[in-house]
Symmetry: C2
Subunit: 510 residues, 2 copies
């Protein structure tokens, strides 16, 4: 397999063992099981998802130990492993939650407590629901009026380039949308080469997990750490070429802004990538869920669609799927599971089959769909909720910007750590100059060195991060992903505990 | 492939063509597509889901034609194709919606308008959410306190047989749970026989669709229509035996109460099925989403788990997954997408891998999880919401009972239609004595005769039902599924329009 598969598969082996040690599954009847590891779907065994892997399971155990009164040198676990803003104390956007309260209990629409635009939105959404209830199934693609609002949002965002509501599918978070599209590429014919899917390394492990689960071929292309995680076309070219020995490479995934790497692609870079995809006949997947999370003054989000369309033929006719979500941005509504995919230039037979495929799942959560509606069509100037909405949004985005800088500076100031600027998204991905003694120690425990480091950090200081091996990294380099989401005193606490741990670790293993 | 696959695949062919004719997809760029029917995942092409198939697409088109003022002999389309209670005017249960409103906008917890038990429940659920917000991700298995409530519910329901919250996984509707479990059985090794999954015929097409999508082997066993759709062990035996030529049959799915057939299994019958599964080493899947929907006085729901556990060893040690949902019952909250699966006696390595697999999807919708909480732990006598809750629930269930009888009697009274009693669930599945001339006419249109019948019904009278071929049926028999959910005047209108159509159809083709 191409690039960086080794660290990912090593972490699998560990995880299997670790889940066992820590899940405390009550012993089940030890009869002769019909379904066992021997005949379980082998792709399920292979797949791995580090963001919720063994470190998080151990973090939850430690929390329970603390609850039971077991003494530690820290009083709480801080889970900086996942981009989960509300879990870190971020407050919901009032407009979204008021609309959701009203569609749940329409008697609130008559109450004096909510602004009129909230009530109007709730009415509009209910009018899109069969029987005027969010308890009815929607069309599998999502409620029509919401898809229309999504298309209007995209059109505005892309400076007037039209978007068609019929090519928007609402999904249970962006994850489901991404999985639905990747599923189209499955081919189990063992006489043929597997279809290869190009993903960045480091990558968000939904991709490696889904590629493994679906039995597709993973083709990693390295981002250039020395150049602030830039996406280098020569590297794309090389990874693609190398992949062809093993795979029929057909898909190119780009995450922009980057997760876990936080870089924001320039317009020129997006254009180069599109040209490369055209040349190699690659189907483009643009993971653009962090499109609202850009912190550096001089940087701007350029959607793949807008660049592709503005390049004219033949590029404007290329196949592209772009994903968005209500889980990130300024709203951070992860638990609502709202998302969408826009399909551009997809073959109409393929589209028909995709619609048929998702129809068996009936529909995505209607409340998640309503949340997406509020995200793509927020209050406008002059409307009663506008000022409050703008203030909440601006406060959150400004605070994220401050935290992006603070986290990066704090890590960069530590000896033996280097951290690229967090231009966007919600994570820092610092590099550790791992001492050889720590590498050897980890090896003796059958662990990756960065896993060992992260586990020590968790056990001794209660900070949960995700080791770089869960995302992929150049062999011999070691990283971790940490969210920039802890707030105020908690963030200061995280960085202090981290510094204390790191200095001790480096001293111990130098 | 075993049994009844022919009608299912025939309807695929039609559907491909039909989706095309009626989706009115704006023409997309006719460039050289990378992903086309030629290289699309072949299992996606094969799969079919009749409940949302071509008839429903045509129904939506007709609705749009009516909106545009195109004259028809009817003024509205009635979609009796899907078990979607709220779409048919059923009102939500106040307790559920008030709790959901409060967790969305916690300021409502301080309002005077909601009963104290609603507020306490909302507080309890929020205390189970990270950061006290339903906008944070939950554990992939679901919020711990809700899984505990589910286990308590199951224990109560099953007369004290214990249920373990650690073996409950919350899911996005029951559909996702069923798909997650079936996914474990995928095996792409083309040197081995496919794993066979036994499903009833007629069946709920989620099963045939998922089995096709996952490349598993579909093994249909016929329910005995002449004996009120009973599940006959000889037929199970025969279907199993026949399947072994082609498949390694390993899973037995039972839907109880039946969908689309409405039968309720007796305790003895459940016991026989368990013994059969034990003998053949079959992993049991019990689709029990209609456990609250039983209408005949002398019938009772017997969960597979309670029967299995009460049978003692070795049966009590068998592997079983049981599914439930908030979409059916008296609450009918389809759009909220809440569901759960209880895993009984599953191999612990398999369980570990299942947990890992679902972790990549992050979590099911937290609001759907909250809805499940309200369903498994409704208000208790003495609590402020109890009386209202009981009244709403009883009214709905009594009304469903009346409608089950009314629908069945109406069809049974029509010449050329026979209808078994609707003992449970939400559907009637009447049989049409199809005139030969109608069969010939359908054949000339390359359609199944029941599809032809249902399409005529829709076009001429605006009633949307699902043809029996979408569920499977004995060759040479013709059925349709119609929900019992239309209410009051609408139900009378449906039955009148139906009778008018049917008599005309029979006259025309006799």
């Amino acid at each position: 397999m191409a690039n960086s598969v080794k660290p990912l598969s090593l972490s699998v082996a560990f995880s299997q063992q670790h889940y066992h040690n820590h899940q405390q599954i009550p012993s089940m009847a030890s009869t002769n099981h019909i379904l066992t590891l021997e005949n379980l779907n082998p792709d399920v065994i292979t797949m791995e998802y580090a963001v919720r892997g063994p470190l998080v399971i151990r973090a939850m155990d430690i929390e329970k130990e603390l609850d039971k009164g077991i003494k530690k040198s820290f009083s709480n676990v801080i889970k900086a492993n996942i981009g989960d803003a509300h879990a870190m104390g971020q407050k919901p956007i009032s407009f979204i939650r008021q609309v959701l309260a009203c569609v749940n209990d329409p008697s609130l629409i008559n109450s004096a407590n909510y602004p009129s635009d909230v009530k109007q939105r709730a009415e509009l959404l209910l009018s899109g629901c069969a029987g005027h209830s969010i308890g009815s199934y929607s069309h599998s693609s999502g409620i029509e009026i919401i898809r229309k609002h999504v298309a209007e949002y995209i059109t505005r965002r892309d400076g007037g380039i039209p978007s068609d509501p019929q090519h928007i599918l609402l999904s249970t978070g962006a994850s489901e949308g991404i999985r639905n599209i990747l599923k189209l590429f499955i081919d189990k014919d063992s006489r043929k080469k597997k279809k290869g899917v190009m993903i960045p390394i480091p990558q968000y492990p939904l991709y490696s997990a889904t590629i493994a689960e679906f039995g597709l071929g993973m083709v990693g292309y390295y981002l250039d750490e020395s150049n602030n995680w830039a996406l280098n076309i020569d590297e794309l070219e090389q990874a693609y070429k190398k992949s062809l020995d093993e795979f029929n490479t057909q898909v190119l995934c780009v995450i922009n802004p980057g997760n876990p790497t936080g870089q924001v692609l320039s317009r020129d870079n997006v254009e180069e990538i599109i040209k490369f995809a055209y040349k190699k006949k690659l189907f483009l997947l643009a993971d653009e869920v962090y499109q609202d999370n850009i912190y550096e003054e001089n940087l701007k989000f350029h959607s793949f669609k807008s660049v592709m369309k503005s390049m004219g033929k033949p590029f404007s006719q290329m196949e592209l799927c772009s994903f968005h979500s209500c889980s990130k941005g300024y709203m951070g509504e992860c638990g609502l599971r709202g998302g969408y995919v826009e399909l551009v230039n997809i073959d109409s037979d393929v589209f028909t089959n995709l619609q048929k495929m998702i129809s068996a799942k009936l529909c995505s959560t209607v409340l998640g769909q309503c949340a997406i509606d509020c995200v793509v069509k927020p209050p406008q100037p002059g409307e009663p909720s506008y000022d409050r909405w703008l203030e909440e949004k601006t406060t959150i985005l400004n605070s994220l910007k401050d935290r992006a800088r603070a986290v990066c500076e704090a890590f960069d100031s530590m000896d033996g750590i280097e951290c690229n600027p967090v231009q966007g998204a919600m994570y820092a991905f610092p590099r550790i100059e791992m001492p050889q003694k720590a590498i050897d120690k980890a090896k003796s425990l059958n662990q990756e060195a960065d896993f060992f480091y992260a586990m020590q950090l968790l056990e001794s200081n209660g900070i949960c991060v995700v080791p770089g091996s869960g995302f992929g990294q150049k062999p011999g380099t070691y990283h971790f992903r940490i969210t920039i989401l802890p707030q105020g005193n908690v963030l200061r606490d995280v960085l202090e505990r981290f510094k204390k741990f790191h200095n001790k670790f480096m001293k111990e293993y130098s």
